[in-house]
Symmetry: C2
Subunit: 275 residues, 2 copies
């Protein structure tokens, strides 16, 4: 039995969404037990409860030795406000956890990867059940934790790899949460940003990625219409800044803010290690 | 006679706007001559001409010894793509220039301040003529270059000071354009960003501002309506992150994306030096 705790370091989820995923897991993944922390439904302003509530729930899930994994419920902003405080409160049980999430959860995945605490994994979240095709996204995660590697991003190789939302990784740079990424393949995806803002984020981010093995671009989706065309595609933007910063551009990655978002275990993927 | 070159390192301006400002300057500031570089009206995708066009115009204005100042026409994104390339092309005449602008022009102001090239000044731009009350904003700049200090931000003291758009400064952090700001009063303003994004930018920025004398908050305007209230005001956000990062929060600054935007000469203000 794989026991997974769900908490919400950023924004809340709806009870109906949680129930749907619990039913799905019980029906299709009998070796998985999902435990939804009640903090997932707390609301304080933008967040799933106050900083203290979100921090306490995260620490409780991390330190409970009966859980194998902690699945972040949803993104939307907020995890960066509690990540630094969580680290000194983590006990030995946190070091064996698998952490699953993406988007705003990247602040935690990055910090835990930096500190070599457990296993950070870029993966769809419970809240993705709301997306078109979201049932498949949830199945991909529950399958992965059950030992099915078919949902893993297909380009993973012998390089250690990380995957982030572009804004999240750009905001991590230079903070106490930023992992060292020399030698890594870095995958980034973005959603709902103007292309000029994507270009600006690449200006910033690539200045911090010296020594990486290369960059792969996930999907840049739901780009708002600006008053004029930007004049370059997301791939052209990524290639331009990689070229300026002497970073190899490696092509695309099958990640993004959508139901097709594939799984990227941080570090060297086990299947690559084993083969 | 003070001769001012106007070029557009970011986005283009309309000919009518340029003509209106030239007429205003000729009528009210006879000791000022404005020379509008034709590149200000070039268009390529998002930008006022290609990177090469914008770079060439900037370098031409900077290296022309007949100009006392270079006034950036408008913000809107693009200056960070040409700032690094401009520096090695600057000759001795660039070192005596006053550089005037704000918002996206902050990439240049920051880079020139870092390299101690001339005098960077946060100030309204020609394109501000379009704003409500924009004539007063333009008068403030033309008055300043004519020797009238009444448009200068009123809180300036003996500390060296800089002023930036919040996003611009956050994106500068860790790049080759970022000036050292230890001991400085840092003023930031923002426009058209969700409050969660403002909070995220402060998370990032304050991690890079160790050792500054303190932070002052300009106006955070045109905040888009989100699907739920954030739960904190811009000042509360600034105080929160300053407190976490041991940065003194010094109060408000009279700057912003509006016609009231005051002038902030980077470094120690002359009037404070002289008094």
């Amino acid at each position: 039995m794989t026991r997974i705790a769900v908490c919400a370091p950023s924004t809340p989820i709806a009870r109906g969404d949680a129930e749907q995923v619990v039913v799905l897991a019980a029906g299709e993944f009998p070796a998985v037990e999902l435990v939804i922390h009640p903090q997932c439904f707390a609301v304080e302003g933008h967040f799933a409860g106050s900083d203290a509530q979100r921090l306490d729930a995260l620490v409780e899930c991390a330190n409970d030795p009966s859980f194998d994994a902690v699945w972040f419920a949803r993104g939307g902003y907020g995890a960066c406000r509690i990540a630094e405080e969580a680290l000194p409160r983590f006990g030995p049980a946190a070091r064996t956890k698998t952490w699953l999430g993406y988007s705003d959860a990247g602040y935690l995945l990055g910090a835990f990867y930096r500190e070599r605490i457990g296993r950070s994994v870029h993966a769809p979240m419970l809240g993705c059940i709301r997306r078109k095709g979201g049932v498949d996204a949830v199945r991909r995660v529950l399958g992965y934790v059950s030992g099915d590697p078919s949902g893993v991003e297909p380009t993973l190789d012998h390089h250690p790899t990380v995957a982030f939302n572009l804004t999240t990784l750009a905001m991590l740079c230079g903070t106490p949460l930023m992992p060292g990424l020399a030698g890594h393949v870095v995958m980034v995806e973005e959603v709902s940003e103007y292309l000029y803002a994507v270009d600006r984020l690449f200006f910033h981010l690539t200045a911090h990625l010296g020594g990486i093995a290369g960059l792969r671009l996930g999907r840049v989706s739901d780009v708002p219409q600006n008053d004029r065309p930007f004049g370059a595609t997301p791939e052209q933007i990524a290639r331009y800044w990689c070229d300026r910063r002497a970073i190899p551009f490696l092509g695309s990655a099958d990640i993004g803010h959508d139901a097709a978002n594939r799984i990227v275990p941080f570090g060297v993927a086990e299947r690559a290690q084993g083969q």
